[in-house]
């Protein structure tokens, strides 16, 4: 019984990064705005993806990034595939340079997130341009990028607390 409950607890803990990504996508895309709609929502869904892609990549596989991107597409009203493709592009970058990104700390860690967010924004912009067959205005995506970078610091503190409290560090399997 104890073993079964421990397994269930482990599974729940393992699913927290994924569900944090989904929850962030839902929160970011609630159709309410504090800024009268003048500022686009930040890329909240990218934050858990970036965070756990570095600290627990086993809990944030490419399929999770794909699903979070799909939820972001679905709720944001963007053409399906734009944010999905953009998140996968950022995931590919993080996967290739994981050691470099994971070694960053302090302001450099924020810049690391900024680079990932820039990749997402550029990829989304060009995928959107391909879909609409003309270049959309860059201002909203740039504003969203800046907001995301600014909000990453408090978000990383929250994610770090969730990680320490519920998920835990990566352990080598025997």
């Amino acid at each position: 019984m104890d073993r079964a409950s421990a397994m269930a607890g482990g599974m729940i803990a393992a699913s927290i990064p994924f569900f944090c990504g989904i929850a962030a996508a839902v929160i970011a895309n609630l159709p309410v705005s504090f800024t009268l709609g003048f500022l686009p929502p930040p890329l909240l869904a990218l934050m858990p993806l970036y965070f756990w892609c570095l600290v627990r990549p086993d809990l944030m596989p490419p399929g999770a990034a794909f699903t979070i991107g799909l939820v972001q597409d679905f709720l944001s009203g963007a053409p399906i595939g734009v944010w999905t493709g953009a998140f996968i592009a950022a995931y590919a970058l993080l996967d290739r340079r994981r050691d470099a990104f994971a070694g960053l700390s302090g302001p450099a860690a924020v810049l690391g997130f900024g680079l990932a967010a820039l990749v997402v924004s550029v990829a989304a912009y060009f995928l959107g341009a391909i879909y609409f067959w003309h270049l959309p205005a860059a201002e909203p995506i740039l504003l969203s990028l800046v907001l995301s970078i600014l909000l990453y610091v408090p978000a990383a503190m929250v994610l770090g607390a969730v990680h320490r409290r519920f998920v835990g560090p990566l352990r080598v399997q025997p």
Binding site: P31, F34, G37, F38, A78, P79, V82, A124, I130, P136
Partner: protein, 334 residues
Amino acid sequence: MANGLRRSTRLRGNTQFPIALFGALALALLLLGKTQGNMLDQARAALIDWASPGLAAIHAPFEGFNRWLANADDMFNLYQENVRLKEDNARLRQWQGAALALEARVGRYEQLLNAVPERKTESVLARVIGRSGRPFLETMILDAGTANGVKPGEAVLDPRGLVGRVYLAGQNTSWVILLRDVSSRVPVVIQPGNIPAMLTGDNTVAPRLEALPPRTELKPGSVIVTSGDGGLLPAGLAVGTVVAQAGKYRAALYAEAHSTSEVEILRYQRLPEQAPPPSLDDIPDPGPMPAQVETMQPPAQTDAQPAPPPAGQAAPVAPAVPDRGQAGAGRAAG
């Protein structure tokens, strides 16, 4: 940390193929959305329908805060605003008199010409239960859907002017694509001069005026109204005024999509042209005898005069412009 790095190095080799696979899948979804967008849109509409009670509850406190924020600036300009409104009111009273005289004159002309009456446009009043400005979608969500007779493509207006068009209609909710959205295209005319143009959103506050006739120079402040071309929107809906920015013309919109809380959805649909009723003259002539062919003359061009109405019965007359006052009377609350 070292353990994590060792594991992550091991993982990297295993993720190359899934990343490529999911990347390809994302591109396939993009293409599928381009070709089969309706299916995905219906799923979105169903989701918002399901979530609409929650959205309305969440939106209420935000609405109050946004309204306060929008009006915070006005609190410091109450006196000037009051003076300006009084001046506007006096000027509008003069315009009202002129408009009523013109309306009566147009009515008389239409009666004389036996003009085809313009259809009255019904409308549905709806509350805004959500709005957002996102990089690829400038939208608001309304609490009226197909159950209230709302259909995609219908015009959405606030008390000042055109806000946008219904883009997606669920059963109890509908999504409005705002005029400033990147995929919004609305045919308009600029007055005076009746200059046609295409109002094209680009996710900025002021949409662009495109497809103007060559070498057209517009006067800032000229009025922009819908042209009705294509039959999707009624003609003459107020849109905004012309502004010049960096050598290009844009529209300063009348509607305040970011702060309006109730909108009107016009249930406009242009009727297909009806064939005239058959008459005995439609029966084909078997053709003249060969001897008569040379003597045939083309039919004389006659000015068709409308038959006068029977005594004591007036010809049907209706205002040429959709009667918003009467339309409002037939509103169904959303």
